[in-house]
């Protein structure tokens, strides 16, 4: 979803010009974000960039210094308005689950349930707890256990069930999968995404793992230095990053000096089309490693420096040869080759140090102005 959707139509959450300082340290320096109803947004950024603070502001645990936060069109924070956390109808899953250690799993899940509204009987509460536990793929017999008897993944799922008990419209997840083993992470992530999608809950996920952000959400917001550097859908944000730092954060990037004329950039990898040129002349060109393919008839040549075998693929570092045009004309406008770049290949036997490989570039590149 594009971030410029008008506030009154489909927007569930609207954050406008929010800043937050802790003492003398400025953590958020002007954040603007809009989240549509039913959508999933991932806020991704390095540690210390302010993502958890933003989430806590949305949840109502902190006051913003300036700016406003509004839910469903009503201002809940800023501009003199303040709705405390317990009235916001927002589900919050903290980084380590934050289950109450003195209660059983069932009591934890039922904590937010208003017994009066469920016609008071214990059976109704138990039925609802069982239903919620099944929703997160946990056996109903777990209800009698204590949190410390569960594994990390199970605790996270109980925390999710607990937050879902009140049927919130907005769900906030703070790095919920970071404490899990790598193998478990993907499976839990898929399960959680499914549950939330089926329930139709608007979700905001905070993470420092870019792969998680790109796979989980339909809107990715990249946070850096207290501001959102780019907001867009995962494909756009990955293939057309707004600046160099965002490009390097979201994945491996090959950055080369290039000369841009019109929409064609010339660099050591040849002439590559650029979709939206930001400037002309000398620019920095960004390509993703998977765009540089090893092809027998490729126009660019490079010599392998070293390789790293990872199993399913091999990372190959190559030193690019000087392009023919430069060798002939020695034009100062065209970079002279000799850069070392990193690409990936599935066939390890093809690349050995000292070998010469032929390369071809697929797709478009992104250009950034030189001064970054």
């Amino acid at each position: 979803m594009a971030p410029s959707v008008a506030a009154t139509t489909n927007s569930h959450l609207q954050i406008t010009d929010v800043t937050k300082n802790f003492g003398s340290q400025a953590v958020l320096r002007g954040v603007n974000l809009s989240v549509a109803k039913g959508g999933t947004t991932a806020i991704v950024g390095p540690s210390g960039s302010g993502k958890t603070t933003l989430l806590r502001l949305i949840a109502g645990f902190e006051h913003p210094d300036t700016g406003t936060i509004s839910l469903n069109g009503t201002t809940v924070a800023g501009d003199g308005a303040w709705l405390p956390a317990h009235k916001r109808q927002i589900g919050y899953v903290a980084q380590d689950g934050a289950l109450f250690p003195h209660l059983t799993v069932g009591q934890n899940v039922a904590f937010g349930l208003n017994a009066a509204r469920l016609e008071g009987s214990r059976r109704a509460v138990n039925a609802r707890v069982t239903e919620l536990l099944e929703m997160v793929s946990l056996d109903a017999s777990m209800a009698k256990r204590r949190p410390h008897q569960l594994s990390g993944g199970q605790q996270q799922r109980v925390a999710l069930a607990r937050a879902l008990a009140r049927e919130p419209e907005l769900m906030l997840l703070d790095e919920p999968f970071s404490a899990l083993d790598a193998g478990l992470r993907v499976a839990t992530r898929r399960a959680v995404a499914k549950v939330l999608a089926e329930a139709g809950v608007t979700t905001i996920l905070v993470t420092h793992d870019q792969a998680e952000a790109l796979s989980f959400a339909d809107q990715v917001a990249v946070m850096r230095g207290g501001k959102l550097a780019q907001i867009g859908n995962p494909f756009v944000v990955y293939t057309r990053p707004a600046d160099r730092a965002t490009a390097e954060f979201l994945g491996d990037a090959v950055i080369l000096d290039a000369w841009l004329e019109g929409t064609l950039a010339t660099c050591s990898l040849g002439a590559i089309p650029v979709r939206r040129p930001p400037a002309q002349g000398r620019v920095q060109l960004m390509l993703r490693p998977e765009q540089i393919r090893i092809a027998e008839d490729g126009p660019i040549r490079g010599v392998v420096v070293d390789t790293d075998y990872f199993g399913p693929e091999t990372t190959v570092r190559l030193k690019l040869n000087v392009p023919k045009e430069v060798a002939e004309h020695a034009d100062h406008r065209y970079p002279g080759g000799g850069e070392v770049i990193t690409i990936r290949h599935w066939n390890a036997s093809i690349a050995r140090p000292g070998m010469e490989l032929c390369l071809r570039v697929v797709g478009e590149a992104v250009a950034f102005p030189m001064d970054e």
Partner: protein, 529 residues
């Protein structure tokens, strides 16, 4: 005053995105105001001593301090500390090491027995030794009785620390070529540093503050001299000057402990789960070790118990006059409960600030509390007597004033436990409860208070134990005609009615025993922090 003072102020934890503010936020200002008031209140004894020193005038003060009598007291006190503290350290570490790190048979039983002497108040210990050897007196017997009474103050933190040491560190030392003894001195002992400096400080402060035990063997220290002065001239300058010197020594001890604590890190570096420590086999040393522990326990715990029981049997049924000891028991219980409740409530604002809003503000509050907690009971009592007579005459010799003194004296015990308990109830849980729809106050009660309750109860139990055994302040401040177990014991034994004093001694020991066990269990949990 037991293992509370050995806990250095702890920094709070933060996660990315959440900074700590140097001052508590606006909504918590009521708590901070309360905490400041409590801190100021606890500075009254120190302020009193300083004021008195200044008010007496330099010449008079010098004249009163530089007397042969004071020199004699000074010598006694210094010799006492110089002999007792190293002995306690030695016995405490030896006992802790044998119990925690060797394959001693029955180490679980020994572990508890070595802590048991804490259940016997020092003045009861003195009473038992005087019954055994009536000619006991002077420096030697002072050292003997103090060492036997106070070595558990070193043993308990040392044992708790040893049980939590990471064996990986010792194994690294072995891999680097150090033998068992050298590993102990170069690797294990340094990690005991905090426990040892804290334990030594506690022993020193107890020595300076102890009255009953030394009075009974007619060994003069500053505290006994102050008491004598008080009883003769009530509020004389001489007594106040002695109190100033006493306070000076207490502060000196505090400073020494902070300095020797050092700044090295003692916590385990690195992730992963710590393995269980290996226990060394004793081989030829097994029997001597068992005999050593047997002798220690017999002298420190067995002997007092034996003589108390012997006196009770000698006295027969007559000593158990219900009309006398029942009121004393009830009074002790009432003061204990009231004091424990008041102390826990008073400690809460400071503990809350220290855990939830760490920063320079809460650290300075903790520091002031740390300093005032080293004040001996007699100084606190004197300060309260003077201040109440001069400023609030209606309060003098009221139960309220005595409870206030107890609160001041035993605040650290409640504080340490409350801090540990609050640390188990992080802010995230409170916030999670609010996100689940509970208003802040309800969330606080249902989550934070509920999780802190066991630790608070533990702290209250320890305060109860301390109040039941408290003698000095009770003698000075209790309303006329108040009888507690301790004061009744004291008046009976002062009249050399040892048989009559025995039931009170037994009741005090019985009352203290479960609390001592609780203290022992608690120390295992708090160790390493």
């Amino acid at each position: 005053m037991t293992s509370d003072l050995s806990a250095p102020p702890r920094a709070g934890t933060t996660t990315a995105g959440r900074g700590t503010s140097p001052r508590p936020p606006f909504g918590v200002s009521a708590v901070s105001v309360l905490a400041v008031l409590i801190a100021l209140f606890s500075l009254v004894p120190l302020g009193y001593v300083a004021y008195m020193t200044v008010a007496t005038g330099w010449d008079t003060a010098v004249g009163l301090i530089l007397r042969p009598r004071v020199g004699e007291l000074l010598l006694n006190t210094l010799l006492l500390m110089a002999a007792t503290i190293p002995l306690c350290l030695l016995l405490g570490v030896a006992g802790a090491w044998l119990v925690e790190r060797t394959r001693l048979r029955g180490h679980r039983v020994w572990a508890v027995l070595l802590a048991a002497p804490l259940a016997v108040p020092a003045f009861v210990n003195s009473y038992a030794w005087v019954s055994a050897i009536p000619s006991l007196g002077g420096l030697g017997s002072g050292i003997l009785i103090s060492t036997l009474s106070y070595f558990p103050l070193v043993y308990i933190p040392a044992a708790a620390t040893l049980s939590r040491l990471d064996p990986a560190i010792e194994q690294s030392a072995a891999a680097l070529g150090l033998g068992a003894w050298r590993t102990f001195f170069r690797v294990v002992l340094p990690q005991l540093r905090i426990a040892l400096t804290g334990g030594a400080l506690l022993v020193g402060l107890h020595l300076l503050a102890e009255y009953g035990a030394f009075a009974m063997i007619r060994f003069d220290t500053f505290t006994t001299a102050i008491m004598t002065q008080y009883q003769s001239t009530f509020n004389g300058a001489a007594g106040n000057m002695l109190a100033s010197v006493l306070v000076f020594f207490c502060l000196l001890l505090l400073l020494a402990e902070v300095r020797s604590r050092g700044s090295a890190r003692y916590a385990r570096i690195g992730s992963g789960v710590q393995a269980k420590a290996l226990r060394l086999p004793l081989h030829a040393y097994h029997v001597p070790a068992q005999l050593f522990l047997l002798a220690l326990t017999a002298l420190a715990f067995g002997l007092p118990l034996y003589f108390v029981l012997r006196w009770i049997l000698a006295g027969g049924v007559d000593v158990w006059t219900a009309s006398e000891f029942l009121p004393a028991l009830v009074t002790t219980f009432t003061y204990g409960l009231a004091g424990a409740a008041a102390t826990t409530v008073v400690a809460f604002p400071m503990a809350y600030l220290a855990v939830r809003h760490p920063g320079w503000f809460s650290k300075s509050l903790e520091l002031s509390n740390y300093v005032t907690s080293s004040m001996p009971g007699i100084v606190v009592a004197l300060a309260f007597v003077t201040v109440s007579i001069r400023m609030v005459p209606g309060m003098y010799q009221t139960a309220g004033l005595l409870v206030a003194a107890y609160v001041l004296l035993f605040l650290p015990r409640a504080l340490v436990n409350l801090r540990a308990g609050l640390a188990q109830a992080p802010k995230e849980l409170d916030e999670a409860a609010q996100a689940l729809g509970k208003p802040p106050l309800l969330a606080f009660i249902r989550v934070t208070l509920r999780l802190t309750a066991p630790a608070a109860a533990g702290g209250a139990a320890l305060v109860f134990l301390a109040i039941a055994n408290e003698l000095t302040a009770t003698l000075l401040l209790s309303p006329n005609g108040t009888r507690t177990l301790a004061t009744e014991f004291w008046s009976k034994s002062s009249e050399i009615d040892y048989a009559g004093a025995a039931p009170y001694a037994l009741l005090m020991i019985l009352l203290s025993a479960p609390m001592t066990y609780l203290l022992f269990q608690q120390s295992k949990k708090v160790a390493g922090q």
